[in-house]
Assembly symmetry: C2
Homo-oligomer: 557 residues x 2
């Protein structure tokens, strides 16, 4: 049996978010492994109410922890680094990242009480040896500083894992896209065997635009405003923060950063030397003293998050600051699908205050951090890989990216989370499906997505909850009538009587009619009560609630 | 005291959906009233889990039912007609609508067991007298047949209520926009006193396009497909159904309509003479026998609705029909904000089947049914109203429409739901705020949005639910330990012990420590248990669940 090179996505393949990819090399089942990224995605009310964070199910990694040589983090976006503190304890392999990423990752580990130090690495030509893998971090532009592709040399050939990226010749903060270096990479070590490539923007047919194209429109826009100007974007987009702040200063305004992550990002970028010339900022407590026409706020919450600064401001005074008629609010951001309602809620709240809301207007005040279709093609052409594995995207993105590769004569295959590819030969080959899924952070507990916890929550939310308590005396007879409490149900229905009373009467009658045998059997009694509640509820309110029955039996002493 | 003309939106003003507008004329507080539209909006998991339909709170209408002369329905979209069966019983005024709208409304009333006949009316010059109002239905184009504006003549002057509309010279089904007639309307009776005008597309700066522009691209697209082609759009967009079906037939395909509302709409349109030349269709049971390259399905579910035909097909076989590699699925529709996740889910499911998903592609395969900003301006210019009341839109749409009107020298005011305007003079004047809100259809019960039912559901969904039952004996002492059941919570937390056991132990200890006085007081005992659960839960799982406590006291006999 010969050695093989495998690829196994556990998150990010078949979805946008929650990236977690595994590469392995060695004998089947004995491959030495490396992990690229351990990210999260966020819960939503539709599918995961009450859940704060979602990440890859790490069971497979935990079972194979002894085979893991290293964890590499390409950049500090939550969907690439957010699961580190939750999943590292199951794996316990050394973590590698560049300084800014490492700084933010270390904060996460420290906050989570995880005692390990991230290894801070320099970019190519520095190389990390991890078992059979030699890994280089290669600067590539994206919407956060220090994003990196990984060049992973293996005995089976060179793998280029792009991470999230765009082609930006002038990204304002961080290194521009370096075509010469990528050309070198394409030629060394026999060329690129596998390109594992970002797919999120495959359906966008125009070439991507540089972060630097925003300087002029943003500067002009901000200069035009009369009242206070508030701008929101992702806190991690440090280049955008700089452009916004520079534009504010150019318009004679003091700049104030609002929101915990804004300050954290700027501080981490300054301390790691990524950001050297951010203008001085004022503190929120001082900002309230500055005339509004001389003030600019840069705030968190571009996605309408309820607890972020933008939502707080849309509800009224926040940290002594308040928007009013004549002020302006700029979304220097794009709304991620699923967040529309939250963003629109904020827009309307500002509209009620008389605040002008300015949106990205077709790209004038925002550019994407991902490579569009022509940019992806440019990378294919530059690297000329033998095979292409579409990575980071929903199924439709991965499939489209595969089709594009195939149309150019590059071998390709769609591998969604849990699909193991053998990349040893001339084309990707599906060799195994790993049982995987998602883990949820609920409060402080990590639970499985399929554990039923969330299913029960959704059911209570849709159907309401009826509680029945019943006491059975020493003789096996009901002591009084069943007692009913309801939560999340209409107080009364069709009969006009209180729902609780209707249900209690119905259950008391059902008990009257039932046999001693059923009375003696907890399961059957439970079923009798449950059925009674559901039948009466359908009749009364047209719904079948969730039901919990508690039977207490008094014992002979 | 003199007579006045009032306007009172109860739904649709400050939101998109749920339209319900009131006009009144007479002495203050004694105005005779007419209602324009009684629509619904749909619940969502974020804000109204388990709720099927949402409509205007009709309390004010119910209290003033004796003053209501008539109800006019402008068109048969759910957000204009959907509340009829729920709210008519509270008002009991005669209902007027044109034939197609009346047919669909009557179906709703009949299904709801409401015994009243909608009055079927002909368009202008026919006039309905309703107290001090003379009302004409004026054909105007939209995305459903027979949409109408209302020309409402009052002693204070002429009101034009546009309803939902667009300017379409060739709407395929129904009457084209008739500029000559609108010019007449602008000149009769002293001109237009008030224009109450659709605002939904005020932020779209390009002129709207005609439904007829889709014929060529759709025909070309459908002719190009090799496998089965499935197209989805709103069932009520009968013109689109016709264009799609004609394109299918032109490509040599048999056409099959899938989904209850597709058939209902086409049937109603044919029976009322609105639609005369729809091609023959095959039934689903026969469609499965037709070679897939000769078949076209037109299906419900353009918004990703879980129970509609498109979602069913995305999950597998439906009514004997199944999509596979090489088939195509066309969204001849736009995704309404809030529905993105559901639509994307379907796209990815089709992608997994190898089905090509085709979207509207910037308008090639879909046009909006609403007037864009330049069209709105054209209507302002055509009708030259003394004042403009922006109607149907979120606050930001209404405000922008008001600003546009003011910039053209037309008096205007934003009036959101519950805001009463006096329209008697030269400018709208806010005269009163009516206490209003939303009613929810939950199962078969109409509840108030603020009744707390939905709030409890959301809390259970976010926090889980703990039930504590406790029996107190005749001597006022606990009979055994408290019994705990949980729903929607992790089975265990930080200690590793079952959560239920941890909570039971905690509560038993709290009871041990407590005084006889507290034991004797139900409220204090409830509070003690509740606090015990919450404190222990925060410690154990990092969450504060909802808690229901049932204390049963055994009585001395």
């Amino acid at each position: 049996m010969s050695d093989r090179l495998i690829y196994l996505p556990l998150g990010g393949a078949g979805e946008i978010g929650m990236n977690a990819y595994v590469y392995g090399y060695g004998r089947e089942g004995k491959e030495r492994l490396i992990i690229v990224d351990l990210g999260v995605t966020f819960g939503d009310m539709d599918t995961s109410p009450g859940i704060d964070l979602i990440m890859a199910d790490a069971s497979w990694l935990e079972q194979n922890a002894s085979r893991v040589e290293a964890i590499f983090i390409t950049h500090a976006h939550e969907d690439h680094i957010g699961a580190l503190a939750y999943l590292w304890p199951k794996i316990k392999a050394p973590i590698y990242a560049r300084p800014f990423t490492a700084r933010l990752g270390q904060l996460k580990l420290d906050e989570g009480g995880i005692h390990t130090e991230i290894n801070v690495v320099a970019p190519r030509p520095d190389t990390i040896e991890a078992g059979p893998f030699n890994v280089q971090f290669v600067p590539i532009s994206h919407s956060i500083p220090e994003s990196s592709a990984l060049v992973i040399d293996t005995p089976a050939g060179r793998v280029v894992h792009t991470g999230d990226f765009k082609l930006d010749g002038n990204p304002i903060v961080g290194e521009p896209f370096d075509a010469v270096m990528w050309d070198e990479i394409s030629k060394e070590n026999g060329g690129v065997h596998v390109l594992t490539c970002d797919s999120t923007n495959i359906f966008t047919h125009l070439p991507g635009r540089s972060e630097s194209t925003l300087i002029q429109p943003l500067t002009e826009l901000i200069a035009l405003q009369d009242g206070m100007i508030v701008a929101t974007t992702f806190a991690s987009n440090v280049a955008r923060l700089k452009t916004l702040a520079d534009a504010g200063v150019a318009a004679g305004r003091s700049v104030c950063l609002l929101g915990r992550s804004m300050k954290k990002m700027v501080q981490a970028a300054q301390e790691t030397g990524v950001l050297t010339d951010f203008p001085p900022v004022v503190q929120p407590e001082d900002a309230a003293e500055i005339p509004r026409e001389n003030l600019m706020l840069i705030v968190t919450g571009s996605q309408g998050e309820r607890r972020a600064a933008s939502a707080q401001l849309s509800r009224g005074r926040y940290l002594g600051l308040e928007l009013k008629e004549g002020d302006s609010f700029l979304f220097s951001s794009k709304t991620i699908p699923g967040n529309e309602i939250g963003v629109i809620r904020i827009m309307n709240a500002f509209s009620e205050m008389g605040v002008e809301v300015i949106t990205e207007r077709g790209g004038l005040y925002h550019v994407s951090g991902h490579a569009n279709r022509p940019d992806l093609e440019a990378v294919h052409d530059l690297l000329r890989p033998k095979m292409l594995v579409p990575m980071h995207g929903e199924h439709r993105h991965l499939r489209e990216h595969m089709k594009l590769a195939l149309s150019k004569g590059i071998a390709s295959e769609v591998a969604t989370n849990g699909t193991m590819l053998d990349l040893t030969g001339d084309a990707p080959k599906i060799v195994e499906y790993i049982e995987t899924g998602r883990s949820y952070v609920d409060g402080t507990v990590l639970i499985g997505a399929m554990d039923g916890v969330v299913r029960d929550r959704i059911r209570m939310a849709l159907n309401g909850h009826v509680l029945v308590t019943l006491i059975i005396d020493e003789d096996g007879k009901p002591l009084g009538d069943p007692w009913v409490e309801v939560k999340g149900l209409p107080p009364q229905g069709r009969s006009g009587a209180p729902l609780v009373e209707t249900l209690e009467t119905e259950l008391a009658e059902a008990l009257d009619r039932t046999s001693r045998k059923i009375m003696a059997n907890d399961d059957k009694l439970d079923e009798l009560m449950r059925r009674g509640v559901r039948t009466a509820s359908v009749e009364e309110i047209g719904k079948k609630p969730e039901v919990t029955v508690v039977v207490s039996r008094l014992l002979d002493e």
